[in-house]
């Protein structure tokens, strides 16, 4: 997979092409939500979308790989847009963390395609975020989150920008591990559960 970007790649220009692009992406997500990425074929997608193979290859030259990349990029972008909207609504540290963690986890654990990938091919996702592959993901996600955390770093910290970035990385790690392997202790659908977790384990890290 390519580098993680928090901005979306634009579809082909023109309203008909854009609508077709959208249909194909939606169809790809539906197929992946049924059987995961590995078992989804171009034929599955064109059947679901009601377009020809030629149309798909015109919109996504390179076929399945390019399509999956584009769909992934779009979902990642959507994730950050929704999260940013949520974060903007909170000025206090606890509210920010509870809303941010809760929203992020709900998005990920309720995402049909992501759930299917985790069910059908759990190793796939794990291998994309394991060991040295985690680095670029942490960098991109932390760059997004750090500015929101910066106002809440303790005022006497010698390197507050670094602190914000490093805490952002911590939060990204937390979200990732809970998205991949849900915990009985943290229920994304229960704000009280999230709040207890944030208060006990995450706020102290932010203010350390």
């Amino acid at each position: 997979m390519g580098a993680i970007s928090t901005t979306d790649a634009p579809p082909l220009s023109g309203p008909v092409a854009a609508a077709t692009d959208e249909r194909i992406r939606t169809a790809a997500l539906a197929c992946i939500a049924r059987t995961g990425i590995t078992r989804t074929t171009v034929d599955d997608v064109v059947r679901e979308a009601g377009v020809s193979r030629a149309t798909l290859y015109r919109a996504f030259p390179g076929g399945k790989e390019v399509l999956v990349e584009a769909v992934l990029g779009r979902e990642v972008h959507r994730f950050f847009v929704e999260l940013a909207g949520e974060l903007a609504r909170h000025q206090d540290a606890e509210g920010l963390l509870v809303a941010g963690i809760g929203r992020a986890l709900r998005f990920l654990t309720e995402h049909p395609a992501l759930r299917a990938v985790l069910d059908h091919e759990p190793g796939l996702l794990l291998s994309r975020v394991a060991f040295h592959r985690l680095g670029p993901i942490l960098d991109a996600a932390a760059a997004f989150a750090a500015p929101h955390l910066r106002p809440h770093v303790r005022p006497d910290h010698p390197a507050p920008d670094d602190a914000a970035t490093e805490v952002a990385e911590l939060l990204v790690r937390v979200v990732l591990t809970h998205a991949l392997e849900p915990s009985p202790h943290v229920d994304p659908t229960d704000d009280d559960s999230i709040a207890r977790f944030v208060r006990r384990h995450l706020l102290p890290a932010l203010t350390a």
Binding site: G123, H132, R173, T177, L202, P204
Partner: protein, 196 residues
């Protein structure tokens, strides 16, 4: 040791050696049998799941041994929770870096270990979490923790973060015991260990 367990040990040794020498993709039951001084028939009798079972059992054993080595290297929990967990972090990071076979697989056959990763991860996590629950309970009786810590939740959290940082240290220098101690105090066990 019974003959059966002696054979199993020899077979797992042979599997590990085959992977170390030829990689995972090239592994065959035949090659393992030859190396273990046994036959395919015998192997399938003891490991009916064939190649997949050989790989899974070898990995399980490797994880157990890795865990034991990490524990042996770190100060015991009685020495203090922070020092113990920081010791786990430093030891695990070092031993992971030094694990030649794992590093080569990650470099050359990252996609081949994909199926194995999803079995290793929960294994490691549950073992580590169980250990940390015991360490936290002990620390609680020694008065090292703040009041009302849910040690199961704290162990789960610390375990997840420990595995995350050890696997990919980010901006932390985990060869530095002081840095590891700060990581444990301010991140893994933040809000759990009492300030003294």
């Amino acid at each position: 040791m019974t003959r059966r367990t002696a054979l199993s040990a020899r077979v797992l040794d042979a599997t590990f050696a085959e992977v170390a020498e030829h990689g995972l993709a090239a592994l065959t039951v035949e090659a393992v049998a030859v190396r273990a001084g046994s036959s395919r028939a015998t192997l399938y009798r003891h490991f009916p799941g064939g190649r997949d079972e050989l790989v899974a059992r070898t990995i399980e054993r490797e994880v157990e041994q890795f865990f034991a080595a990490v524990l042996a290297d770190a100060p015991p929990p009685e020495a203090g929770l922070l020092d113990h967990v920081a010791g786990l972090v430093v030891a695990a990071h070092r031993l992971l870096e030094e694990h030649a076979v794992l590093q080569r697989l990650l470099a050359d056959e990252a996609d081949a270990i994909v199926p194995s990763l999803s079995t290793i991860q929960p294994l490691v996590a549950s073992g580590l979490t169980a250990h940390l629950v015991r360490a936290l309970d002990d620390a609680a009786t020694r008065g090292e923790l703040v009041d009302d810590v849910d040690t199961a939740m704290a162990a789960d959290h610390a375990s997840r973060l420990l595995l995350s940082y050890v696997g990919s240290a980010g901006r932390w220098d985990l060869t530095d015991p002081d840095a590891a101690r700060r990581l444990v105090r301010d991140r893994l066990l933040a809000g759990v260990v009492a300030n003294r």
